[in-house]
């Protein structure tokens, strides 16, 4: 087959930094372990001050809501107690239309599920708005707040919604700005 396409190693990397954001009983969505000691997710996933997060290997931790921006659909949580390995960030300017991307999340309660696809467009949703990553990747409720990663496993976006079958992710540059504005040290 010539070159090996190793999605397994890629899945391991991305699953290692993907968290499940848990409500009373059921999962609310996904999150990304970043920056160190914190979790970034969607605002629509977290609506209260304290939530539980679970790593893909089953460790359960408690997290506290630091800041939430409904318009940007981003929220930042601080992990209490233990630390988890943090994600490596990618560079959106290096992904092109057609680049392979993967998402990990908990679609419809399936833990740590991998979806693969390509970048469809990098464009605003509404005319004149900020750009979003549109990806031809099949996502479902439960993927919200989880990572969209490039083929090196670096995070290029935070999945936020599905529109017309396309995954829409907040580009990582906006996530970095959001964390900085919240006064959190960004590596």
């Amino acid at each position: 087959m010539g070159t090996t396409l190793d999605f397994v190693a890629l899945a391991d990397i991305v699953r290692g930094i993907t968290l499940e954001v848990v409500g009373n009983d059921a999962a609310l969505g996904s999150g990304v372990s970043w920056p160190p000691g914190h979790v970034v997710t969607n605002a629509h996933v977290v609506r209260r001050a304290r939530v539980a997060v679970r790593s893909v290997d089953g460790r359960q931790l408690s997290a506290r809501l630091l800041v939430r921006d409904a318009e940007a659909d981003l929220a930042l949580l601080r992990l209490e107690g233990a630390d988890l390995p943090a994600a490596t960030l990618g560079d959106v300017s290096r992904i092109r239309i057609g680049s392979l991307v993967v998402a990990v999340g908990h679609p419809l309660g399936v833990r740590g599920a991998l979806s693969a696809g390509i970048v469809h467009a990098i464009a605003p949703i509404a005319r004149g708005g900020a750009p979003w990553i549109h990806a031809d990747v099949r996502l479902a409720p439960g993927n919200s707040g989880g990572p969209l990663a490039d083929v090196s496993g670096a995070i290029v976006g935070v999945n936020a919604m599905v529109a017309g079958g396309l995954a829409l992710a907040v580009p990582i540059a906006r996530v970095i700005d959001f964390a900085r504005a919240a006064g959190v040290a960004v590596p």
Partner: protein
Amino acid sequence: MDGLLAFSNELAAAVERAGRATVGVNGRRRFGSTGIHWRSGLIVTADHTVEVDEDVTVTTPDGRTLAATVAGRDPAIDLAILRVDAGDLPVADIATEPARVGHIVLAVGRGPRASWGVVSAIGDGQRRRTERADLLNLDLTLYPGFSGGPLVDAGGRVVGVTTSGPARHFQVAIPAATVTRVLDELGRRGRIPRAYLGVGTQSVRLSEALRQRLGSDQRAAVIVVDVQPDSPASAAGLVIGDVIVSLGGAGIADPSDLRAALRPEQVGETVTVSIVRGGEPRDVRLTVGERSRRS
């Protein structure tokens, strides 16, 4: 994961390469569709997305708007050809080998935008030897506005023209070889002729006994319910009640098969029509006519 990175870069390069010859087609009231600069000055797109004959425009990748005229239509396979003053617009790189089931392919829409998947089947598995038998069935998403755009292989070469059909629930592509034949016909005659037989038909079931006599497993055919005077069908001696089983070797199970089996390049050619008359199979030679351009 170097293999993945190389493959990812290859896909992105394929989109970029195909995108240089991919245009927006503005030929309907709602959102526009996509077209491919196939030959110098000729844009290929999906017929169902060009709802008007006048005031069609094309948007180039660098944002220029070009006036376009409809050079020809082949509605049986959902293809339209537009003529533009293309200037230095690059021409698409057309694959010389046909796509095969399992090939990884990308659909490119105006923008460019892209989706990926595989060729899942070729033809619908039943209708052999009509043009529809060559249609590429795709396991990928054709997003709104993608119809008429290129289906490309991982090297960025065009293997087909995507269309979701007027009802927008198909994911198919017309193979490049079929498009090239239509363009050759346009070049030869200056137009895409529409083949004409002059019969009205309805689908009928073929009995088990008849199937055995025909030596075929075809379950349906069409019965002639109308023969227009002075038409190719009447000249060939077809009469009401004849059952058409195949045309030019293509099985005919319903009236749409008959339209699909009549290709523009067959106009003026003589084809063999296999019929059943009075319970007896027989072959009729028929010279395909051209539908007048007004009708």
